[in-house]
Amino acid sequence: MIITKQKNFDDLLKMMDGQSSVFIVGCGECATTCRTGGEKEVAEMSLKLTEKGKTITGSVVINAPCLELDTRRVLRQNKDAIEKTEGILVLACGAGIQSVAEAVSCKVYPGCDSLFLGNVFRHQHFYEKCSTCGDCVVENYGGICPVTRCPKSLLNGPCGGSIQGKCEVDSEKECIWIMIYDKMKKSNTLNKLKKVFPVKRHGAGTSPGVVINGV
């Protein structure tokens, strides 16, 4: 799922400065799980914006705003409220925000920042394990992805910056290379790491991605 965090409320107000009427769109999938754009957060946002003098013309939580045709349909159902609105605030990831923006002609504001494609460990515990690089190589590393989980995406071993098993970039995070080592040692496959792995094919994941009629 796409992990999001709500933008700082003061920054949101600055962004929407001069807008007196706002329609709010939430997301029934990822942003609901992240508690950044579900029913509850949309209701809270309505209240907070009202307190700041904004008129809330309406709100809706779309099942999955990234489904573009569904989003258009839901927005059409809310046409009357949206027509009276200067701007739409979307509490969803960047995909959902753009899906809304392409369906309407008024201004659209991002209420959330998209952080990463996340695994859900348990309630409110999200971990980035895949960065959709287009060229999966995890078979070489005991099923653990150094492209995503090492901040330097190193393919041939750890950097020299790890201190007591922690990452040089963030002392709260484990050095993923030690995790790879432990797992491969346990499965007696450490020898596989002795190979020099070739450079990454960054061309494989050319952005923006488009798939038409299947891959």
Binding site: L155, N156, L193
Partner: protein, 296 residues
């Protein structure tokens, strides 16, 4: 004598680190370099060390070369993609630079431009291989190049990485890729050093043992907290703290340690540990004095 030649002819090879300036004023650091002429076997020129922006090592290495030094140009993989790295390597060769030292590079988040895009297109081992491909007359894309460079290629090793078995795997890969010498992270005491000598005794390469003069107690705290996997022993911190002139004491301690290392190396014939690499973080101007105190 070239840097490569120094390994063939000398028992104790000495390199020092002199960073390019932060700005266009090259005079102060070139003045330091001038005072080191004939006293060191190579000057390592850092590449935006710790992610802090400075002049490019290519330009500064060239100036050192013109002065008569053997620059060892550092190239880190943090800031440039494979096109830019190959370009700079060819440029270095054209400017007469014969030695390069390749490393991953600290993450930009640790430096003074924390919002910079971390590039890390290729890693240090892959980059060593790229240099060898260029030396064989081919680019990474497999295209023939007109005129091939020739370098003595080095790398870095962290003697304090745990598990060390993983560091050894990486080290062997670097050697296999074509690296011929290695600088280590700094040592501060004999015990760790002797352990390292033991651990690498059968490896067929050349190590330059890292040494850093400590300029203050504040620096010790910083290094212990943010940089070093193995902490600086308390007795060293105490000696520096008790001194009226902390820099002077740090230099003295370092000089004593260098003499000790020299003794160990002289007594370990056949060891791959072949000399020292001095990293005088922020006190480059004390290098000539440090060398004198160390009897070099």
């Amino acid at each position: 004598m070239g840097f490569k030649e120094a390994f063939d002819k000398k028992n104790f090879v000495v390199t020092v680190e002199v960073p390019p300036p932060k700005g266009t004023n090259v005079i102060p650091n070139l003045d330091i370099a001038k005072r080191l002429l004939g006293r060191v076997d190579g000057i390592n020129v850092t590449d935006n060390q710790r992610g802090i922006m400075r002049m490019c090592p290519l330009a500064f290495s060239h100036l050192l070369k013109e002065m008569g030094h053997n620059p060892i140009m550092q190239i880190c993989a943090r800031d440039r993609n494979r096109l830019a790295l190959q370009s700079d390597i060819l440029g270095a060769s054209a400017l007469g630079i014969e030695n390069i030292c390749i490393m991953t590079g600290d993450h930009p988040k640790l430096g003074d431009h924390p919002d910079a895009k971390p590039v890390f297109d290729i890693d240090s081992i892959q980059l060593i291989k790229v240099v060898k491909e260029l030396e064989n007359g081919f680019s990474m894309a497999g295209k023939k190049i007109d005129g091939a460079p020739k370098f003595l290629v080095g790398g870095v090793v962290n003697p304090f990485f745990e598990p060390f078995e993983l560091e050894l795997i990486k080290l062997e890969k670097k050697i296999g890729a074509g690296a011929e010498f290695f600088q280590t992270q700094p040592f501060f005491e004999r015990e760790s050093l002797e352990r390292f000598f033991e651990k690498v005794s059968n490896i067929d390469t050349k190590f330059l043992i890292g040494v850093s003069p400590l300029k203050s107690v504040k620096m010790i705290s910083f290094l212990n907290e943010k940089v070093l996997a193995r902490k600086i022993p308390e007795n060293i911190a105490k000696r520096i703290e008790a001194s009226d002139n902390q820099i002077e004491e740090g230099v003295r301690l370092s000089a004593e340690f260098i003499r000790e290392i020299k003794g160990i190396i002289n007594g370990s014939a056949g060891s791959p540990c072949r000399g020292i690499h001095i990293m005088p973080i922020g006190i480059e101007s004390h290098l000539p004095h440090l060398l004198k105190e160390a009897g070099l």
